[in-house]
């Protein structure tokens, strides 16, 4: 997200009669802007990760990623597969050959998923 899109960063001005209060607001806004921009930059800096679905397996079956990572699953099989979270947090439609599904993991934790059509297929994303 670019800085120019941030709202509410121009409260008052140097000529405002309520300069003291406005300055506090301005400082708070700038601090917030710096923090938000910093987090935003950190999210953008996390490289994406990928999982291939091949021979009715998730490869790699377990993958550890940093918070904010977008994981992309690509089906390399002619058979249809899904990526379906055990808790219902995320889930793809049926993926045919070459089709992909992405999900961005923000919170640390262990996320188990399976294929609706092949319940013996199991995968795990560890976010830490």
């Amino acid at each position: 997200m670019d800085e120019i899109q941030r709202p509410s960063t121009k409260p008052g001005g140097p000529t405002s009669p309520r300069r003291g209060r406005c300055r506090r607001v301005l400082v708070a806004a700038v601090v917030a802007l710096i923090v938000l921009t910093g987090v935003d930059a950190a999210v953008r800096a996390v490289p994406p990760a990928s999982v291939d679905i091949q021979d009715s397996k998730y490869l790699p079956p377990a993958l550890t990623v940093a918070p904010g990572t977008t994981v992309r699953w690509t089906n390399r099989d002619e058979e249809t597969h899904t990526v379906t979270s055990a808790t219902g947090l995320f889930g793809s439609a049926g993926l045919d050959l070459g089709e992909a599904y992405t999900y961005t993991f923000t919170a640390p934790g262990e996320y188990v998923y399976t294929c609706d059509l092949h319940p013996f297929m199991q995968g795990t994303i560890v976010v830490k």
Partner: protein, 303 residues
């Protein structure tokens, strides 16, 4: 070729999907090749056809157009010397339950010269919406299990894919088993029974989901009958097993073959050229002759 060698040869041919008639008498299988069995059915009795796993929407190395092979199978059904009394589709009508896929299947099967087509769902037919579209279309929104009688034979269609999701295999569930118990209650032991369902009702290869976890509860209700024929799909190849008076058969797909149980890295479409796949695709004719308990099963291919 002596008898034993011939039998061994035919078993191999059955594995490869070539047309063979299997007849089970007292648990002993005998077999003969297709031409002799293809003659017109005479005397009392009837025949019906099982097709399975048409996977409309599938495209792969083994088959660029699953709709075209289903169309070919319809042509083969219509060319049978004895028109089938009805057709049973044992599931996976569609590959990915994509919009319009069920319409395509319905349109194609309207061309079959038979009285009625019965359906049970495969997991590919229900995984997107929990069976809403399939059951709405083919079961009037009901649970999908069904039974009917035809010329003294009792037919039971079971649904074992709705609990597939999140489990490791097919399952019937207590409600359906209770229904089956009630359904069979009034039948004499001498009534021939045919059971059809998508996932095999015997443990073909559980690690690939090729089994039904509570099938034993259903089979326990069936052991008292003198002749039970179980027809399944799901594994895209013709296998059989005999347990007492029960003969289990799995059917070929009309779309693509899958590997033999446990062979290779996993289940799924075999990656072979179309011309190699054709002899592994096809349909099954089942014949019942009044007064003879075993039902004869004839598999024929698109080769």
């Amino acid at each position: 070729m002596d008898r034993m060698n011939r039998r061994g040869f035919l078993e191999c041919m059955a594995w490869a999907g070539t047309g063979v008639v299997w007849t089970a008498t007292g648990g002993i299988l005998s077999s003969r090749v297709l031409p002799a069995a293809a003659a017109e059915l005479t005397g009392g009795g009837f025949s019906f056809v099982q097709i399975s796993d048409s996977h409309v929407g599938f495209k792969g190395q083994a088959n660029a157009d699953a709709t075209a092979t289903l169309q070919q199978v319809v042509g083969k059904i219509n060319a049978l010397p004895t028109p089938p009394a009805f057709v049973i589709h044992t599931g996976d009508l569609t590959h990915g339950q994509k919009p319009g896929a069920f319409d395509t299947v319905a349109e194609l099967l309207k061309g079959v010269k038979t009285e009625k087509v019965f359906y049970v769902p495969g997991e590919h037919d229900v995984f997107v919406d929990g069976g809403k579209e399939f059951l709405g279309r083919y079961a009037k929104g009901g649970p999908g299990w069904q039974s009917f009688d035809y010329q003294g034979v009792h037919f039971v269609g079971l649904v074992n894919v709705l609990k597939y999701k999140g489990e490791h295999m097919g399952a019937l569930g207590a409600e359906q088993v209770a229904w089956l118990k009630q359904d069979l209650a009034g039948l004499s032991n001498s009534t021939p029974v045919v059971v059809f369902a998508h996932v095999p009702l015997w443990a073909v290869f559980p690690a690939w989901g090729w089994t039904t976890e509570d099938a034993q509860q259903a089979m326990a209700l069936l052991t008292r009958f003198g002749s039970v024929t179980v027809l399944n799909g799901h594994i895209h190849q013709a296998l059989r097993k005999v347990e007492g008076n029960v003969t289990f058969h799995t059917a070929m797909s009309t779309a693509f073959p899958q590997p033999a149980p446990g062979v290779g890295p996993g289940p799924g479409p075999m990656k072979i050229p179309e011309e190699q796949a054709r002899p592994m695709l096809g349909l099954r004719e089942v014949r019942y002759v009044v007064g003879t308990t075993p039902l004869a099963v004839v598999d024929s291919t698109l080769a």
